[in-house]
Amino acid sequence: MTIDARRPPPRRLFGAWGRRELQGLFWQVLVVGIAVAVIGFLWSNTVTNLSARRITTGFAFLGREAGMPIADSLFAYNPKDTYLWAFVVGVGNTLRVAVIGIVLATVLGTLIGISRLSANWLLSRLAAVYVETLRDIPLLLQLLFWYVLMQALPAARAAWRPVEGVFLSNRGLILPAIPIGPPQLWVLGAAVLGCAGFYLIRRRLIAQQMRDGRPRPAWPFALGLIIVLPAALSLVLGVPWTIEWPQLRGFNFVGGLTLAPEYFALLIALVTYTSAFIAEIVRSGIQSVPRGQWDAANALGLRRSFMLRKIILPQALRVIVPPMTSQYLNLTKNSSLAVAIGYQDVVSVANTTLNQTGQAIEAIALIMAVFLTISLSISFFMNWYNARIALVER
């Protein structure tokens, strides 16, 4: 590591290996040796302890009957199912709250971030208070707070009805829903295909415009492929799109879409907390666009919406996207706080498994595998998106 100026050049002890390399080798051997020794020590203790407690390592327990109740889940589940299925259900619950939370937090955070820059003093102050308050209180405390409020709501019979068909009670939030079966899925599939087709056509239109400079409208294709095509398919096949209104029967609701209080509280807490951070990211992103860009766009006489869409946003996004990725990862990891209010996400299921079977290492390994997979997928997607919007210098 050192080059000592006062001494003659280092002697070569072992052929091409100089003093610097030897020192480097020494440190590496030392650190790796310590790491291996510590891990070996922990490993041997663990093996001894496990055999003393008659716990066999390995993932065989995943095939056994779980016997744990999961009240609220995306997939059908009953306690007679295996541990493996319980894990899958837990992962489904984590994703259910993380994906919807990310979408809602992005929308809310962007609105609040823009509000902070508003010319309206009152609006910008209110947005600032929102951000400061939510950022400086622990998420777990906010989560418990929302959950307590949720439990303090009136019983199902006296539920609040802010809008017709929407009920808010201590059973959670109940919304009207459209039942989705195979016929409806066909129509939705057609819409997705339409989106993909539209994307390809739009790329071609832009390429053509690049060649001859004449703009070609893309909206007729959008209308045709994304709206008319699925609608026509729906009419031809006669797919029913009936809305299912929730109704109060006895002490509970029948029909509609139910968001359990645990899920609803977790979603509110995650969305509001993360939106405060996203608001700050959006604000600093917009502020990072130099004033000259606004002036130049104005001088060109561009329409305001066009200016925001084509000049300001692309430049702001370059600053916004990287920190946004880490907020998305944070939201996903924070969803594990669900265990505090009894929403059964993957961490909660793993914890119950661990208590029932004693398979601590396997349970933790599964949690790590699930979260590393989710984190890597989010990072991968965001890196791809970031590369797409990054500055291309020619």
Partner: protein, 368 residues
């Protein structure tokens, strides 16, 4: 829905001459600059007025402030219309200090004051010298003596009696005090030219950052006994503390690495040219500059940690949030958890807000 303030819509020179009542002028410029803006202001004012009015009604006008000891009947009568702040004077000793022996609670109180003094002194730029490390060691030792006792005529209090605010501060401060040097080592390791050290550092950082803190805490509380030789057992608080230190180390390492990357190459080369050894080069030349670069993000990481210590609730350690949650288990006071949560939120808020203000101030005076 909004108009962004920084957009120059019209040439600046065309400003109208300023005249009339300054209040009206301010209102016109900030609330009623255009018709949509005016409508927005009126709507917001109405919502705000309604919100403040109902909060004042619930939190002040109809609130119950004091009740005779352990009697919540007045609060029950006001339930739904007014807040029950009386639960705070009833329970604050438990919320703040947990099950610490009642007559000895001046000791954790003094420890909290010491922590606050330590934080305050650490923010003074004039004190950013080597002596600050000694100050930290001294203060933390003094706090340990106060909390444990057993010497100087103080009775011994085992860790499982500790609780409340001191535990939160201990978890956060010791987490930082040990996580920071760990973070520096790992950050240096991640930028090292030695492949084995670099990959070990990357593995550590990515593994810890990839999983939620909750699972690390579970690991500390459930798996730690498995890792240790049988018969060897350490206290639950210490295990959680170790998990928090490991967690803090990984996140701080990433922040410090950012600072290391910001130090110009010439500084490394100059240090090498002076013939400094690796450790002296980093200690004297590189790290002081690197850390100075990242002080604002470091403070933000500290805030995040301070909040994250509340997660120990999940493994049943009596920090501030857990004592608050336990205080409302008492059947007489069960229904008044919102008031207790607001009280605890205010405590967390004061600490975090002070830190974020400080970080903002640092950013403003940066480079001076």
């Amino acid at each position: 829905m909004t108009v962004i303030a920084d957009i120059p819509d019209a040439p600046r020179a065309a400003r109208r001459p300023q005249s009339g009542n300054p209040v009206l002028r301010w209102l016109r410029a900030n609330l009623f600059s255009s018709i949509p803006n005016g409508i927005l202001s009126v709507v917001l004012l109405a919502i705000l007025a309604k919100g403040i009015f109902s909060f004042v009604q619930w939190g002040i006008a109809n609130a119950v402030w004091l009740t005779p000891a352990n009697d919540s009947s007045a609060c029950r009568a006001a339930r739904g219309v007014g807040a029950c702040w009386a639960i705070i004077p009833e329970k604050y000793r438990f919320i703040l200090f947990g099950t610490y022996p009642f007559d000895e609670q001046w000791r954790p109180a003094l420890a909290v004051l010491l922590f606050i003094a330590l934080f305050y002194l650490s923010t003074r730029r004039a004190l950013w010298r080597r002596e600050l490390v000694l100050l930290w060691i001294g203060a933390l030792a003094l706090i340990s003596v106060l909390m444990w006792g057993g010497v100087l005529g103080l009775s011994f209090v085992p860790q499982d009696r500790w609780g409340g605010l001191p535990v939160t501060l201990i978890l956060a401060t010791f987490g930082l005090a040990f996580g920071f040097p760990l973070g520096i080592l790992v950050a240096l390791g991640r930028r090292s030219k030695l492949p084995a050290i670099r990959s070990l550092s990357v593995l550590y950082v990515e593994l810890i950052r990839g999983v939620p803190l909750v699972s690390l805490l579970f690991m500390a509380s459930v798996m730690f006994p498995l890792f240790m030789p049988s018969g060897f057992n350490i206290d639950k608080l210490l295990r959680a503390q170790i998990a928090i230190i490991l967690f803090a180390g990984a996140y701080l390492a990433e922040v410090i690495r950012g600072g290391l990357q910001a130090v110009p190459r010439g500084q490394y080369e100059a240090a090498d040219a002076l013939g400094l050894s690796y450790w002296r080069k980093n200690r004297l030349i590189i790290l002081p500059q690197a850390i100075r670069h990242v002080i604002p993000p470091l403070v933000n990481t500290f805030i995040a940690f301070f909040k994250d210590t509340s997660l120990v609730l999940i493994i049943g350690i009596f920090d501030l949030l857990t004592t608050a949650k336990t205080a409302i288990i008492d059947p007489a006071w069960q229904q008044f958890s919102v008031e207790v949560y607001i009280f605890v939120a205010a405590i967390y808020f004061v600490f975090c807000f002070a830190m974020s203000r400080y970080s903002r101030g640092l950013e403003a005076t940066r480079g001076r």
